[in-house]
């Protein structure tokens, strides 16, 4: 069963109907299941709140499996390499690494360059659409 981790930079593009949103939907459909961190719930709802488009966000989040933000996970995120990954992205990276170890995901869909570098550092494959230039 192929799993895909989606972060806020990816689902945000769909929420805001950016030009590459249909391609993100097509890429998502290539996998069996989708995962993210509960951080996605907070980040995406904050974006929707600021942009005044809250009505669409719940429907998108309802179909993503979210890893809880527990104390153990946050402790591991605080120390995850590389140090250049930003604080909130470290939470995404830690969740993706753990899901990969558990066999739950095969690739990460992110457009954040620092998170992409973190994924590569840990041997996580980037989804085709989010391969860096």
């Amino acid at each position: 069963m192929a799993g895909l981790y989606v972060d806020t930079s990816a689902l945000g593009r769909v929420l805001l109907a950016e030009p590459d949103a249909p391609a993100i939907a097509a890429e998502t459909e290539r996998y069996d299941v989708t995962w993210s961190s509960a951080l996605l719930d907070v980040e995406l709802k904050r974006v929707a709140f600021r942009e005044g488009i809250e009505e669409g966000v719940a429907d998108l989040l309802a179909d993503v499996s979210l890893v809880d933000l527990d104390a153990d996970g946050l402790r591991r995120a605080s120390a995850i390499a590389p140090s250049t990954v930003r604080t909130l992205d470290a939470i995404h990276l830690q969740a993706a690494v753990e899901l990969h170890k558990a066999g739950a995901i095969d690739a990460v869909l992110t457009f954040d360059h620092q998170l992409q570098a973190g994924c590569i550092h840990h041997g996580l494959r980037l989804a085709a659409i989010s391969q860096p230039d």
Partner: protein
């Protein structure tokens, strides 16, 4: 080989998952939760397309700009 398992916390909360039968003798027993909680990607893709039918289009880079602005918001 994985098999279904339930972790029962002291407060009575139950966490469903799977454990590796061959790793049960290790110091740390890992509970894998993925296969019982994962949601179908096809459903998310369908939700994305439904959302896009009525969503107001934003220029490319809007999400990155909003996330970057949030992280750089002054104290």
């Amino acid at each position: 080989m994985r098999e279904p398992a339930t972790l029962v916390l002291s407060n009575g909360e139950k966490i469903e998952g799977e454990v590796d039968r061959d790793a049960l003798g290790a110091d740390d027993i890992v509970l894998h939760r993925a296969s019982t909680e994962a949601k179908p990607a096809a459903r998310l893709a369908a939700a994305m397309r439904k959302h896009l039918e009525t969503a107001v289009p934003h220029p490319a880079g809007t999400t990155d700009r909003l996330l970057e602005a949030d992280r750089n918001r002054p104290y």
